[in-house]
């Protein structure tokens, strides 16, 4: 009997030992200290060329890199500056583990870190309003903590948000670079041997501090886009400035000048956001009806929401929002040709193709559908491509300003892709496969807006074209990702092949406008 008891306990122990339960799941994909949960790794390799001429690179919103004045700093031999050095050495002498962890976190690069924070904010706020009394309350920017929370960071909202954060950061960093090489005041760790260099400086002059510039931009831009996250944004921004000081990268006056510069550039960029048409992108019931009537007048089955109760279409007038590198005329000219008529034989075949695909999915196809699902509660398709861009930038030896340029280019292209795609979606107001055949059930969530063209395909092709320009050796890989992202929507049962093919072509053409900008901006 003793033996059987032993056998029993042994079996349960074996059973418990057979499973692995670890809670050590990374909350960052970046190297270099995401607290306890980052993948870790060397960060010294970052910061290759200092890009000394970045102050001459073409501006996007600002008229020039020195549009916002930055006064000359005091000399490194001045009493004021000596006192600042003393502040840093005192801080470094008493550095705690937590402070060191914050230095490591930010030494990965502020642009990458803010991009990561932005992706997290999008995932947090990418939830549609819950129905109330048979209707859907609209998120209210003046009451962001309510139910529904503000914003609903859906794909167009997210595309625009990624672009404004990236462009504001890029503009402010070009301005910072202008003054850095105008005044050429070195980093404290390079000025005075008593200051340790706890994070790489890439030999870039410290005045004004690029870290503080980014923190100032974030305080204004992120806060406007995600007002309910204000405390977290402010605390991250303050932490970035502290880390700049503790690491010996910047003196208090470098930080003060950078912070002021970032806070001065950001409103110039946000003024553009305030008048870009976003406030009218939601429309109203009369306008929504007009869209349906317009499609019906053309003899087409108009899109309708398949949610219960029917949900208003997602941002139906986002197609009128101002683009970055396409004019309104460009958007009309680049609009994809009409989809197959809803009564055509081709449409019937494409509907059948979707149904047949979904009902005979392989496990690999289902995995692709989930890999690219990027639906509610995620960082959205533009976030997915920001993640890919971040993976490419890590280890590419980019300066902060060049990293900012890459994110600005990718996100301008994806914002333009969102505008162009939404313009086409609501111009044609084409029904989803599940509307054409109620028997089509979807293994991923069904987006609540018209089918033609596929947003994923458009975003992916636009992002891939910009990334291929920046990383030409990875073009084949990017093409494969773009194609897979497009096909994932067929596997998900939410798009016809013609949506996907037209979206990819459209996205590639839209991305081309940003690539054209990049070729002429003075950075290559």
């Amino acid at each position: 009997m003793k033996r059987s008891w032993l056998a029993g306990s042994l079996l349960s122990l074996l059973a418990l030992g057979a499973i692995r339960c670890t809670n050590d799941i990374p909350t960052s994909s970046l190297p270099g200290g995401a607290g306890a949960s980052g993948p870790g790794g060397p960060v010294g390799a970052r910061l290759g060329r200092p890009d000394t001429n970045a102050g001459t690179w073409r501006m996007i919103v600002l008229t020039s890199a020195n549009q916002v004045p930055v006064p000359a700093p005091s000399a490194v031999t001045s009493a004021e500056y000596r006192a600042e050095i003393a502040t840093i050495t005192a801080a470094q002498a008493g550095l705690t583990k937590e402070q060191q962890a914050k230095i490591d976190y930010w030494s990965t690069g502020g642009v990458l870190r803010w991009n990561e924070i932005l992706r997290e904010l999008v995932a947090r706020y990418n939830l549609p309003p819950a129905p109330r009394d048979g209707a859907y309350p609209v998120p209210d920017a003046t009451n962001p903590f309510a139910d529904p929370q503000f914003p609903f960071a859906n794909p167009p909202y997210a595309a625009r948000a990624y672009s404004y954060v990236s462009v504001a950061q890029y503009e402010a960093l070009k301005a910072a670079w202008f003054y850095k090489y105008e005044y050429r005041r070195a980093a404290p760790s390079a000025v005075d041997a008593s200051v340790k260099a706890l994070a790489p400086t890439g030999d870039v002059p410290a005045y004004p501090s690029e870290d503080a510039v980014m923190s100032g931009v974030a305080e204004i831009v992120l806060r406007a886009l995600f007002p309910a996250a204000v405390d977290e944004i402010d605390s991250k921004a303050a932490e970035q400035r502290e880390a700049a000081l503790w690491s010996g990268r910047a003196a208090p006056s470098d930080i003060a000048a950078g912070h002021a510069l970032g806070r001065a550039v950001a409103p110039l960029v946000m003024a553009r956001a305030g008048s870009d048409g976003m406030r009218n992108a939601g429309g109203n019931a009369t306008l929504w009806q007009a869209l349906a009537d317009g499609a019906a007048a053309k003899g087409q089955t108009p899109w309708k929401s398949l949610e219960t109760p029917p949900r208003p279409p997602m941002l139906p007038f986002f197609g009128n929002v101002r683009g970055w590198n396409l004019t309104p005329e460009d958007f009309v000219r680049e609009r994809p040709p009409a989809p197959p008529s809803t009564s055509s034989e081709q449409m019937r075949q494409e509907v059948a193709e979707v149904k047949n695909t979904v009902e005979n999915l392989t496990r690999e196809q289902l995995a692709i559908a989930y890999k690219w699902s990027d639906g509610a509660g995620t960082y959205a398709p533009p976030g997915h491509w920001n993640q890919i861009a971040a993976d490419y930038v890590v280890g590419a030896g980019y300066s902060d300003v060049r990293t900012a340029r890459l994110f600005a280019l990718v996100n301008m292209a994806m914002h333009d892709a969102a505008v162009g795609c939404w313009e086409a979606k609501y111009y044609y107001f084409n029904p989803r496969p599940s509307q054409m055949d109620a028997g089509i059930k979807t293994p991923i969530g069904l987006p609540n807006f018209p089918s033609y063209t596929s947003g994923h395909s458009t975003f992916s092709a636009a992002a891939a074209s910009v990334l291929s320009y920046a990383f030409p050796s990875r073009t084949a890989e990017l093409d494969a990702m773009k194609d897979e992202a497009g096909l994932s929507r067929l596997y998900g049962g939410i798009h016809y092949m013609s949506d996907i093919n037209a979206g990819k072509d459209h996205g590639r053409r839209i991305g081309g406008y940003t690539v054209e900008f990049a070729r002429r901006d003075g950075a290559d």
Partner: protein, 305 residues
């Protein structure tokens, strides 16, 4: 969500096996094999989004149908080996979400009667149960509430104290701790419990459960009534209007009534019926489950009276 099934999957428990479950106080005698199939029909139309109870007209009611094969073998009179394997399919009555189906997780358990003491007019017994659950097919856990399970490998340790009076009335108390292995998604980032994680791997919180049951049994009939509480030791809530997630904190309390009835004139064949209702919960549906099955006992040790 996926009420009973996920709960069952979590616990590695699935109704009565002949006269045995992982939680009851009955053993198969040496060289007896009791095996059969049970059909389960589980349905809910309201669920708890975190702690907020709501309906969702894009799901309507969610139905989970399963056919569970079960078998219990008496290695000795005091050691039983128990196995079960469900085939599961899900569907929603409204909306466009696609149902899922497939072979779910194989549960293997060893049940050991550790102690028997006469007490009053009856007897008191202590049982120890160790079990593992192993997903047998590559289903996705990333489509709750339509996923057929969590796809997590699990191991459980359970103790059961059972008292049976002379006239056949019995009372049981049983509790278990279940460890759950990380699960793998088909995507490289996900948001849960207030954080964005950059991995395809999801840490699964462990689970405790306890059950109290009372009932009556005599030759040819077992009729238990039980209350079960399940607590998940961690995990995030479903956010407002979000989809559920595999590692959500899924808690539930349920009542369960069942009967196992040996069909007269057909030797060794038992009819099994059961009903379960979820009373309270968190991140699960308020499910009603009905169960019907046939179990047959083979006496490899020779016929018995």
């Amino acid at each position: 969500m996926k009420v009973l099934l996920s709960t069952l999957a979590v616990l590695g428990v699935s109704g009565a096996l002949c006269a045995q479950t992982l939680t009851d106080g009955i053993m198969m005698p040496r060289k007896d094999l009791c095996t059969g199939f049970v059909y389960e029909h589980d349905r809910w139309s309201e669920y708890w989004e975190g702690t907020l109870k709501r309906d969702n007209r894009n799901i309507g009611s969610l139905t989970t149908r399963s056919v569970v094969w079960m078998g219990t073998y008496g290695v000795t009179d005091k050691i039983n080996v128990i196995a079960m394997l469900p085939y599961v399919s899900t569907s929603a009555s409204q909306g466009v979400l696609h149902g899922m189906k497939g072979v779910q997780d194989l549960t293997l358990a060893v049940k050991y009667e550790a102690l028997t003491r006469p007490l009053g007019s009856g007897s008191l017994k202590l049982f120890a149960v160790g079990s593992v659950a192993l997903p047998l097919s590559n289903y996705t856990p990333d489509f709750y509430p339509m996923s057929i399970g969590s796809s997590s490998r699990r191991a459980s340790a359970r103790l059961t104290l059972s008292y049976t009076a002379r006239h056949g009335f019995f009372a049981n108390g049983s509790g278990a701790y279940t460890g759950r292995a990380n699960v793998t998604l088909d995507r490289s980032a996900y948001y849960t419990d207030g954080r964005l994680y950059y991995s395809d791997e999801v840490a699964m919180p462990n689970v405790i459960d306890y059950t109290f049951s009372v009932g009556y049994r005599r030759s040819g009939l077992v009729a238990p009534f039980s209350f079960t509480q399940q607590h998940t030791l961690g995990g995030g809530d479903i956010r407002r209007q979000d989809m559920p997630f595999v590692s959500n904190r899924m808690n539930a309390s349920r009542v369960d009534a069942g009967v196992l009835y040996y069909v007269p004139k057909v030797q060794n064949l038992a009819l099994k019926l059961g009903a379960t209702r979820t009373l309270t919960g968190r991140n699960v549906g308020q499910a009603t489950t009905l169960q019907a099955g046939l179990m047959y006992t083979f006496h490899f040790g020779g016929p018995r009276s």
